[in-house]
Symmetry: C2
Subunit: 434 residues, 2 copies
């Protein structure tokens, strides 16, 4: 049951463990993208414009306009509209082609549900300014490397081309004016039974025979059958060639069993103009990523007239399919006890000496003077070592280093503490000084 202290509906608080889990995945993704020569782009959280989709969060105008309920800004809905704006704004300052990635939150006023948020991270990868199918292949290959690097298995790419679809419609004699509706229906072949799709096609005005042969070729039939049918159409032949070129470029990079030419793949969005693809995985409904070539969209969004290809990774879904991050909180390496006010300054310096060894260290900030109580705190922080400095240590000029796992203790001269801890850290495989 939500309380007044929960984050707003459809949003999340990320405590340390969750955040570090996400950040480490994002860092891996960034690193793959960078190796492909894609560079980051980060745009504002809001853009001008209040018209359009009912899922857009609009921001109330400030000042004298507030009373009117007018909105002039909207929270970022995706990374494509800002990309078109940036391409228009920075034009010649951008490299040609412009290969950029964007990883950041977008906001949608959707009904929240399992895995569906109002604030979530979207991860886009796009190349503007190249008509080469190598640009398409780079995006697909990078998406593949990301999933492989994150440790996902059992996933595969469904590959198709909008031109194959156009050729299909032509090859099966679908009247031109029914084309887009037919594609919308064919897109349901992964969810509905073939008969249901056939019935919907007939409702859309296809003859029984056309509907049946189309559905049959895409489900019961073999891909070779579809290839043959496509040869009768110029657009279809060009589409097949495009798909084959893409698959051939990817042959060395993506294992062959992860690449599936899928003539029935439509992808909902009508702006695609060339190759399209989707990543699906066993046991995960829907897709993990998808994309394609969209040569006119940037101009339609107000940007320059540039060819473009790209894809989006469903990072929230991908993160959900990775092993649980484990601990909710960061752990300390070194917990420093404070055995009385007169040693507070010394304890404070001991923590600094541990930090100089590259370790995470904190002094005890509570009010108890009892060692047992402070060691309990040390244990709660997950610390590997506790430092103790009291009267005996003060006299000897040493500090007691306690191994929190074994309980073993060592007396170490204060001046040698940093080196001693660095040695322990090294032996434990912890990172050294930055």
């Amino acid at each position: 049951m939500p309380t007044q202290f929960d984050p707003p509906s459809g949003t999340r608080d990320f405590l340390a463990g969750d955040w570090e889990f996400r950040e480490s995945a994002f860092a891996r993704i960034r690193s793959v993208f960078a190796r492909y020569g894609f560079e980051p782009l980060v745009t504002p959280s809001f853009e001008y414009g209040d018209e359009g989709d009912k899922l857009i969060f609009k921001i109330l105008r400030r000042g004298e306009h507030e009373e009117t309920g007018e909105a002039d800004l909207a929270l970022r809905y995706d990374h494509t509209v800002p990309l078109a704006r940036v391409a228009a704004a920075y034009g010649s300052q951008l490299p040609t082609p412009y290969k950029r990635y964007a990883i950041g939150p977008v906001w949608r006023a959707d009904r929240p549900g399992r895995g569906r948020y109002r604030e979530f991270t979207q991860c886009d990868l796009d190349t503007l300014g190249s008509t080469s199918v190598m640009a398409d292949a780079e995006v697909v290959s990078a998406a593949h490397d990301v999933l492989a690097e994150l440790g996902l298995t059992g996933f595969r790419f469904l590959v198709n081309s909008r031109r194959v679809l156009a050729g299909l419609l032509e090859g099966f004699g679908v009247p031109a004016d029914l084309g887009s509706g037919v594609l919308i229906t064919l897109d349901k072949l992964d969810k509905l039974a073939p008969e249901e799709v056939g019935a919907e096609l007939r409702e859309r005005g296809l003859s029984e025979q056309t509907a049946e042969s189309l559905v049959g070729a895409l489900t019961a039939g073999s891909v070779e059958q579809v290839r043959d049918a496509l040869k009768t159409s110029e657009e279809g032949a060009a589409g097949i060639e495009e798909v084959d070129e893409l698959l051939s470029l990817l042959a060395g990079q993506v294992p062959a069993d992860r690449l599936v030419f899928t003539p029935r793949l439509v992808r909902g969005l009508s702006y695609y103009t060339g190759p399209i693809w989707e990543i699906v995985a066993d046991g995960i409904p829907g897709s993990l990523a998808g994309g394609g070539r969209y040569d006119h969209l940037i101009e339609q969004l107000g940007g320059p007239n540039v060819p473009a290809t790209g894809g989006a990774l469903g990072v929230e879904r991908i993160l959900m399919s990775l092993p649980d991050p484990g601990s909710a909180h960061s752990r300390l390496d070194v917990a420093v006890t404070v055995m009385g006010e007169q040693y507070a300054g010394r304890s404070f310096s001991l923590a600094a000496a541990a930090r100089a060894a590259g370790l995470r260290a904190s002094v005890y900030l509570g009010t108890s003077g009892k060692l047992g109580r402070q060691l309990k705190w040390a244990s709660d922080t997950g610390a590997r070592w506790a430092l103790i400095y009291g009267g005996a240590e003060d006299e000897a000029g040493t500090v007691t280093v306690r191994d929190m796992t074994s309980g073993d203790q060592a007396a170490v001269p204060v001046s040698e503490l940093t080196g001693y801890l660095a040695g322990l850290a090294d032996a434990a495989g912890l990172p050294g000084p930055a």
Copy 2:
């Protein structure tokens, strides 16, 4: 002059160079905070609530409420309100004390200006649940280490305590009901001439003598004089003790000339209850960071009744004072030419071989088949090396590796390319395979 393609007023697009510059600074900051045992907290971009400050960006309610112009969410204004909510929501699941940092955007509907944005990054560091002055000292010490780690020099901490201020008012016989007004005026001593401050104090109702001796002690007078005056007040004596304890804890961590007891330091916000501090730097107006103890604020904001101390780093201002990031775009390590369609697949694999050596590599995605044109592209990307694979190389089974600086070329067997490039990268000091 702004165009329709500029980002919304008061916001910024971060192209690759700027973003990498910022991220690398944030990574250093995170690393310092982590070494002090602070853990990250990331909360949603908006919170419930539409009342309050006129600088808050409000979000229009969606659906049937849209017509009303009602707002139920507001963009995050600071990191303190969410901290109070998180402390209330997760209470016992949080470590005690809860030491967290937050680095992320906040939004303010302020008039944009040089260095003043509507969307900017705020960086907070706070400890909830400790009354110890060691907690205050940790925050100050961590803030110091951040600035030192970022390479800033010429900065110093102004340190004071709210209790010193209370003692000052008492010691100089300021009537209790004039206290808070007098502090607001004294806060102007760093901007106005002493006479102007004196005049304002008289306007507030102080006698000429009190106003003069107060201003005199805080400007012309020595800190020793102020210390003496404070001894006459219980609160003042406690304040001095608190400041001295803080300074003594910091003595080993922060160079002595960077710590300045500054009795006139007020800090605007009235919620402070103990030590307060600010970082100022030569040649930079205003402060780079500031903070203090605020033992009642979390409860006032709807959170639990916990003592708290913390600080905020003015990261936008700090970033502005660092050396310019240089290039606006990421550079490639390896640019792979494509000498004809028949070698496209090979070129694509060569780029993959370079990536396997941990390098940033891309194939040529343009339409020119001319080597000169493609090498111009390679040079534009900043690549250190270009790879060439054409007819001659195909026959020999080698790839030509061209050093883009010297123009030297080497013929390398295709199967040895990854190892060869890894060697070059190593010699050039580039990071190896991840």
